[in-house]
Amino acid sequence: MLDKITDSVYKYEMAEIEGLVKTALDSGITAKDILIDGLMKGMEAVGESFKEGDYFVPEVLMSAKTMAAGLEIIKPMLLDTSGAGFSRGKAVIGTVQGDLHDIGKKLVGMFMEGAGYEVIDIGIDVPADKFIEEAKTRDADFLCMSAMLTTTMKQMKVVIDKMKEAGIYGRCKPVVGGAPLTHKFAEEIGAHYSFDAASAVDLLNGLLAN
């Protein structure tokens, strides 16, 4: 049954997923097992195929949508006593101040969601203080910043300095990405870097494991 769910996410069968998840629940499989061994496993396979070059971005997005449709059904059952849903980790994501680029950041967000992260997208042209505020109130594990311009990428350092001032740096990990960025730049400003959307998920998983 779980294999069918995994397969359905992998093959982005939007029409099938709802029925499959419901049948799984009826047969006594827990919501958590459906999520981890069914839905997320499907997205992991999608990530692999994407890295191999067999899956393309629109297919990844369709699979993510399929997974989200499945997740919608089991969400109420995943709520713990504190009222929070199950997630692997929480990420606040936005494009830095002065930068209106949207699509790259959105893409990373969708990959993260597909991998089981809770993603809070706070939009574009986000001032440093807003990043800090959101990361604090949401108790985020990751603060993810995107920049597409060499002029705006400097803003990332401003945000990280403010994270340190606010005392959340470390507990909340800054993650950066965008076309003009390099590993070296990220290191210099004290951030973690991933060069594309698929490897951003690996990066987050790795950071959580440590």
């Binding site: 393309f56 699509i103 390099t182 060069f195 594309d196």
Partner: protein, 470 residues
């Protein structure tokens, strides 16, 4: 704008001058039977030099079918003519460039690998007897190459004979593989190249191939290879004229023997490099000569062919890519029906498996360019743009999902579109290195499961080998 296209007036001028030269100067046919056939049909002979009355030439050209089909082993038809453009692996090289870059004499295994690789590359429609296997006795060289083709590809192919007997051997193999004389006539598997020798000559072997090929009703591809500045005038216009004269003279002989025989109006225009004394098949001038004679071929109503998508470079470097890309694009834009040359380096002497893989990408791109912009209502997407408005994301739309594999040409990994960091982390690999991976992968897939050559063809091949005691 379209490069190299001549105005109608110049096409007529070339035609008129060609007829005049055929009538007054003539063309040499180094074979007594060719002389006899042509004179008995109205030409005049001065020794081996044949002069043609104008109407004899014009009537012959009218008898050639404007298009015909070649057939793969699976029975799929490949239309040769009209607006169809097909690419063929290059022929006929004498050397192979190995994975490590060493260039050696080609052998049978090289030919086998080339044919198998061609079979696995989607953008290359026709296989070819791409290299000469040096260890094989010349007497069975022609049939050996065809046996390799029959054994290792399902695609139709371009071949040819270097001897008079070779053509009969090839015929027997094709006949057996296709299931008999009638089946071969109805559904030919191959087109056979026959080359003139500029200026204005047909050798003894070529004459025999023209006559015997026509008698056996085989589709023939006439290759005139005028060498700009050496065996043809230095000026391109004159070179096109010489090409026209040679091809027309070949058409006349074929049509005298077998009216209606399928003929491709082909060529391999070359440029004599005055600095290096070499014969370039890739100077841009050869592309212009091609563009003009493609028009001549269409003027006479014949399918056309040229050598292009090859390179004078000795390695798979920038020169190889740019020459192959430019000439392939020019040839397609000129409207050629068959474009031979993929995989070929060093004029047309050294074959490279890696280059064949790279050229497969060039051809994919050229074909996509040729397809142009599809202008339907759904393609216009006016409703979608209106619905989405400013600042939205098209990646997750159903429209993108429907079209993302259909609309673009999707290159293989040879074409690098990775981001810098990933490319560096994988060792900064070049197109040739990545092509080499694909070569290994494709050959590993086919190894152990060669195409079934029909028992009948296998028996013919056995008989030919026995005859020559090898």
């Amino acid at each position: 704008m379209s490069f190299g296209q001549l105005p109608e007036k110049n096409i007529h001028e070339i035609h008129e001058n060609a007829l005049n030269l055929l009538e007054s100067t003539g063309v040499l046919f180094n074979d007594p039977e060719a002389v006899e056939i042509l004179t008995s049909h109205g030409a005049s002979a001065d020794g081996s030099i044949i002069r043609f009355p104008r109407n004899m030439v014009e009537e012959a050209a009218k008898k050639v079918p404007s298009e015909f089909d070649l057939y793969g082993a699976d029975g799929n038809a490949l239309r040769i003519g009209g607006n169809e453009t097909h690419f063929a692996a290059g022929s006929c090289g004498i050397r192979i460039r190995g994975k490590e870059g060493a260039i050696k004499q080609s052998v049978g295994v090289d030919l086998r690998d080339i044919v198998r690789l061609t079979d696995g590359l989607d953008n290359i429609a026709l296989a070819s007897s791409s290299v000469v296997p040096h260890e094989i006795p010349e007497a069975i060289g022609d049939s050996y190459r065809v046996a390799q083709l029959l054994q290792n590809t399902r695609k139709p192919f371009v071949t040819g004979a270097f001897s008079a007997q070779g053509l009969f051997d090839i015929y027997e193999l094709l006949e057996a593989a296709c299931g008999g004389k009638d089946a071969l006539a109805r559904k030919p598997r191959a087109v056979l190249d026959v080359c003139s020798l500029s200026p204005l000559k047909w050798t003894d072997v070529s004459c025999r191939n023209l006559i015997d090929g026509a008698r056996l009703n085989l589709p023939l591809e006439l290759i005139s290879a005028p060498l700009i500045g050496a065996t043809a005038p230095m000026t391109l216009y004159g070179c096109v004229l010489m090409h026209t004269v040679e091809i027309l003279s070949g058409i006349v002989l074929i049509q005298c023997v077998n009216p209606g025989n399928r003929v491709v109006y082909g060529g391999a225009p070359m440029y004599f490099d005055m600095r290096r004394s070499t014969t370039s098949l890739n100077s841009v001038e050869t592309s212009l000569v091609g563009a003009a004679y493609a028009q001549m071929g269409r003027f006479y109503g014949l399918p056309t062919h040229i050598y292009a998508c090859l390179s004078d470079a000795k390695s798979n470097d920038a020169q190889a890519g740019l020459e192959s890309g430019i000439s392939a694009l020019m040839a397609a834009q000129s409207g050629f029906n068959i474009i031979s040359g993929a995989g070929m380096l060093e004029f047309c002497n050294t074959f490279s498996l890696e280059k064949l893989v790279i050229d497969n990408e060039i051809i994919g791109m050229v074909k996509r360019l040729a397809k142009g912009v599809s202008c339907g209502e759904e393609e216009m997407a006016a409703g979608l743009i209106g619905e989405m408005g400013p600042g939205s994301d098209y990646l997750s739309t159903g429209h993108t999902f429907k079209w993302f594999r259909k609309e673009p040409y999707l290159p293989s990994d040879v074409i690098d579109r990775k981001n810098l960091e990933l490319w560096q982390s994988e060792g900064c690999r070049t197109a040739e290195q990545k092509a080499s991976d694909i070569v290994s992968k494709k050959l590993a897939q086919v190894n152990g499961k060669p195409q079934e050559i029909k028992d009948a063809a296998e028996a013919v091949w056995e008989k030919i080998r026995m005859r020559e005691g090898s």
